[in-house]
Amino acid sequence: MITATGKSHRVTIRGVDEPTATLMVCVVARELRDGQVVAFGLNADAMLSAAMLAQQLHAPDLRIRHGLRAERGMVFGAAAWTDRRDDDSWRRVEYLEAHDAILRTANPGSPMRFCDVFFIGGMQIDREGSTNLIGLKGPDGRLAVRGPGSIGTTSIGTLAADVILFSPEHSPRRFVETVDFVSVPGWKRRAAAGLAGGPRLCITSKAVMDFEDGSMRLLSVHPGSTVEEVVGATGFPLLLGNDIPTTPAPTDAERRALGDLAAEDFRA
């Protein structure tokens, strides 16, 4: 959750300490490029913070699709609703779009492109980057734990040019060999369905991973974590390079820009 309290700006992610949450937001921001459209859905406040950070630092024309097409600046809060009594976000709307415009703009060929970069989470994420928001299987193979549902992830996650997985939790129950159900297909399932590519990165509270030949590979380990810890927290064998660096800590410029985000808050 983002707390914008006038002067200071704190980034928090549930279940993650503040320095790590800040680092994760910086890692996400570094992946966003000027002129892109970034999209994410419910419960994605950290993504919003990261996108705004990127706008401050290196991507002034990054467009943020957080519930609607708001291209200049963004409002802190949930995608579809607010409980802020003095909300005046409607004064900033440039373009009205019904939710089902997604059907026209999700097509990768659409000039009104829905997004270039899409962030996905999951109850489970597997070795090849498939994600699951549907539920968990019981011993009898039937759905035993009901998930929320695929929400908007399936189609956008399939059609977006660049998909990044984001999971605050990094544990063996989250990172499994094979997801119980597939909300969004990863590398091998995509190939089997005739689709090129797959998710590019996976960012967690412990590490950053990418994919090699459709299999997750450890790219860097966050300060305070170790390769052994990450390997132990992952329910499948991670590909490991010879030299695994530490994820670069937030720079002074990133910290300053995060602090400045408060000024971007329309209430400030």
């Binding site: 579809a80 609703w81 399939t158 005739g194």
Partner: protein, 281 residues
């Protein structure tokens, strides 16, 4: 019977109608809600009115990642879930609206959706794979909105959070029967004519029901009552743990022991309601 309901996350659910459906004791409904549905769907499931849910997700953002009664009854097998995502949900309604038996959609291939939802099929055409998504036509659609005129022109509110409109039009266009919309206020036709771009549905049957989305919110009018939804969620979680008393008490206090919508509003309390109203509204 297939019932379409407005409501995205916490916004614009037709709760006055939902509570009346529960008072009437309707059973075995198929709900087409959301596509990311919330309290309207969860409450109808919890009250035993639902057999099947057509939604891409049922969640209480920031309160419960998975809506509690949806989770409980899906896990027990009491309800079926028409597994889909938001795009597939809309595609099914488009097919219904256009009068075609199905549409092809490029999303959802390579997923578990066809395995879990036997009405979806992955097919190949012209060397590409698609999901074949069948038409869905609700028998009746219930909406809640900020305002409408006496001619059934339903309008979004200028002051809506980020200017959003949701699935109202997609549901109404696919509906085989009446579209019924409760509204916060009835406005003059002149006002509608002066700014027709705010009309999202026309030809609806309109009923005046202020606070008709509570405990959900109405874009531009009032915020969702998160405190109320938290209390509801606590009661539902108790039920999942084996104590159904708090949930039954919720249904009694706010639905069965209130004769109608006015009775419900009295049970909630004027002060609680007024504290939710937006300053600009």
């Amino acid at each position: 019977m297939t019932v379409g309901l407005s409501g995205f996350s916490y916004q614009n659910p037709p709760m006055a109608i939902v509570r009346q459906i529960i008072r009437r004791g309707l059973r075995d409904l198929t709900l087409v809600s959301g596509p990311t549905a919330g309290i309207e769907t969860d409450l109808l499931i919890g009250a035993g009115c639902v057999r099947r849910v057509v939604a891409a997700g049922v969640a209480f953002e920031r309160i419960a990642g998975i809506a509690p009664m949806f989770r409980y009854h899906a896990e027990r097998g009491d309800i079926e879930v028409w597994e889909c995502d938001e795009c597939i949900w809309y595609v099914a309604l488009k097919a219904g609206a256009w009068g075609v038996p199905y549409l092809l959609w490029p999303g959802g291939v390579g997923t578990s959706l066809p395995e879990l939802n036997n009405e979806l099929a992955e097919i190949e055409e012209g060397g590409r794979r698609y999901l074949r998504v069948p038409a869905i036509r609700p028998d009746i659609v219930f909406l809640h909105a900020a305002e409408a005129d006496a001619f059934g022109n339903v309008r979004a509110c200028r002051q809506a959070y980020l200017g959003r409109s949701f699935a109202e039009r997609a549901l109404a266009e696919a509906c085989a029967g009446p579209v019924i919309c409760t509204v916060e206020s009835i406005v003059a036709n002149e006002q509608v004519v002066a700014a027709p771009e705010w009309t999202v549905v026309h030809g609806a049957l309109v009923a005046h029901a202020p606070w008709g989305a509570h405990p959900g919110g109405v874009s531009g009018r009032y915020a969702p009552d998160l405190q109320h939804i938290r209390a509801y969620t606590r009661a539902a979680i108790e039920l999942r743990r084996g104590n159904d008393e708090p949930y039954r008490r919720y249904l009694d206090a706010f639905i069965h022991e209130t004769a109608d919508h006015d009775g419900y509003l009295r049970a909630v309390g004027d002060h609680e309601l007024r504290s939710l109203r937006f300053k600009a509204a």
